[in-house]
């Protein structure tokens, strides 16, 4: 059985990608369940909570966003997730020291794969990489940041079926992605407004409300009626149908947005990613099949 386990399952890009992965594997005849601590994912795919998670012989377990210190931590996943937020300094120190003095070994009963979805995973000091059989990266650009000596593979996210819209609006910009300083939401809005967009719609998880209130709310007042907050929208077709242009000023090598813009005939203003990232869903599936040893 394939088990995807994430430290969060609130609505953001990584959760959507894991939901898609779960659905794709099930639709291709495999038995896959996505376990997460929040509720958003529960009606999106074959799913469960950390409380329901158990390891079984022969499992392929894909772990994301959980700072696992021991294999035993998988047996009490709820506790592992909740404890990860506490005593971070002590956990990082303990992990770094024990990784050198007492290197952990992988389980012989199941395959454990670490899924790195962040551009720079090197800050995950409390991760014990030696517990994992393999490390999964979404983009080859991540490997530049990561010096961990484990078997690794690159596999981009599955894409939803998107089609060009027949009736797109004019001068309606979309800012797609979590709303935060790291994603430069404010700069993206300003870029859209300077380009003459009449409406700017924010489609994304509100990752940093304080940033929003301090940086975006003042813009809504200085540009009355132009900036709208939609929040995270899981109907991607509807989202792309509602905008003519998408603005993205930050280099996000993992972003699917440029490809989705191409599929929906939406003008993309931002950093392009390399052609090697553009794989079909069948090609993406073949990578997973090979790396997880699926029959």
């Amino acid at each position: 059985m394939i088990k995807i386990v994430s430290g969060h399952s609130y609505p953001d890009g990584s959760t959507v990608a894991l939901v898609n992965l779960c659905n794709q594997l099930n639709s291709r005849g495999h038995n896959c369940v996505f376990y997460g601590p929040d509720s958003w994912h529960l009606d999106k795919c074959k799913s469960g909570t950390p409380h329901e998670f158990r390891t079984e012989d022969g499992d392929a377990i894909l772990l994301h966003g959980i700072e696992l210190l021991t294999i035993a931590g998988l047996q009490s996943l709820e506790l592992t997730i909740s404890e990860a937020a506490k005593n971070q300094i002590w956990r990082n120190m303990w992990s770094a020291v024990s990784e050198i003095l007492f290197p952990a070994s992988t389980s012989k009963k199941f395959m454990l794969v670490l899924s790195c979805r962040e551009a720079d995973s090197s800050h995950k000091a409390a991760l014990r990489y030696s517990l994992f059989n393999k490390i999964h990266f979404v983009s080859g650009m991540q490997i530049n940041f990561n010096r961990v000596k484990r078997q690794r593979f690159i596999c981009p996210d599955f894409l939803n079926a998107l089609v060009p819209s027949d009736n797109k609006p004019e001068k309606a910009a979309g800012i797609i992605g979590s709303i935060s300083k790291a994603n430069a939401t404010k700069e993206n809005i300003e870029m859209a407004l300077e380009a003459g967009m009449e409406t700017v719609i924010l489609y994304g998880f509100l990752a940093d409300p304080i940033y929003f209130y301090q940086n975006i709310v003042p813009l809504t007042k200085s540009h009355p009626g132009k900036i709208k907050f939609a929040g995270f929208n899981d109907d991607q077709q509807k989202m792309y149908d509602s905008v003519s242009d998408v603005y993205a000023s930050v280099n996000r090598p993992l972003s699917k947005v440029p490809r989705e813009c191409a599929l929906t005939n939406t003008r993309y203003h931002g950093v392009e990613i390399g052609q090697d990232e553009f794989l079909t869903n069948d090609q993406i599936y073949r990578i997973w099949k090979n790396e997880l040893g699926l029959g």
Binding site: F212, K228, G231
Partner: protein, 263 residues
């Protein structure tokens, strides 16, 4: 009388409403907070800049103009009766949010149950969208409003231009429960004349909301009605004077965002 409700949780009830929104199943979520509780108890209530008066107890005023309220038991008995109607109304998918024992105390909580008379399985929390559920509301319920043609009923000072789902708005002023009561009939007529079905009505109009939600749901149960209270204030250029808003949007210290209300 004491009632035990199995597996009724603050988070579970939140997702119950979320799931109904996703399924486009019409419902009404009405909320009776402490202000409405005092009116139901027929206590004189004055909320303004100078004073907060509840019955005979008077403290310093803290309320901004849009939140001013004045209820006098003799002068406003008609409106109190309509509030009682809303409080005692029972119908399929009419969810009545009560002030919880952890927020108004055991005595007031029990008073509500006794005053209602019949136990309603649709009882829920008045605070269902705030406190520990507020991040869930912003992250998971708010985006669902995009799936509806949405009508907003709110203060005349509110700026709704950042809400992408807005189809129409109705405005109220100070002490709307008394001064704008006639708007309920106006809204019923608008619903009838325009064959409004499957729409979402959001209310941020203090005690007026309670009477309007009851009467509009009784009139047109094919629409959904939610009292969002102050939850959307940061999008409406309205004040962030509630503690849970200050904590979420300004990072102010406070325990409200971690508070999971009990039944």
């Amino acid at each position: 009388m004491m009632h035990q409700v199995a597996e009724k949780t603050f988070v579970g009830d939140f997702y119950k409403l979320c799931n109904m929104l996703k399924a486009r199943e019409p419902f009404a979520f009405n909320r009776f907070s402490d202000g409405e509780l005092y009116i139901l108890q027929n206590k004189e209530l004055i909320l303004d800049t100078q004073q907060v008066k509840v019955g005979a107890k008077v403290t310093d005023g803290i309320y901004k103009a849009e939140d001013h309220k004045r209820f006098h038991p003799d002068e406003h008995s008609f409106y109190r009766d309509r509030l009682v109607d809303a409080f005692r109304y029972q119908a399929k998918n009419y969810f009545n949010g009560l002030s919880c024992r952890c927020c108004v105390g055991e005595e007031n909580f029990q008073w509500q149950l006794d005053f209602h008379g019949n136990y309603d399985e649709n009882y829920t929390w008045a605070n269902l969208l705030v406190n520990g559920n507020y991040p869930r509301f912003i992250h998971e319920m708010y985006p669902l409003f995009n799936n509806y043609k949405t009508i907003f009923v709110c203060n005349e000072k509110a700026d709704l231009s950042t809400l992408p789902f807005l189809a129409k708005d109705f405005r109220v002023g100070y002490n709307a429960m008394v001064n704008d009561y006639g708007l309920i009939e106006t809204m019923k007529n608008w619903i009838d004349e325009n064959d409004i079905e499957g729409h979402l009505f959001l209310f941020s109009a203090s005690s007026f909301s309670k009477m309007a939600i009851h009467q509009l749901y009784e009139h047109s149960p094919e629409n959904t009605y939610i009292d969002v209270g102050t939850t959307l204030n940061p999008f409406m250029d309205m004040s962030l004077d509630r503690t849970y808003l200050k904590s979420f949007w300004l990072g102010a210290k406070g325990k409200d965002l971690g508070k999971i209300c009990i039944w």
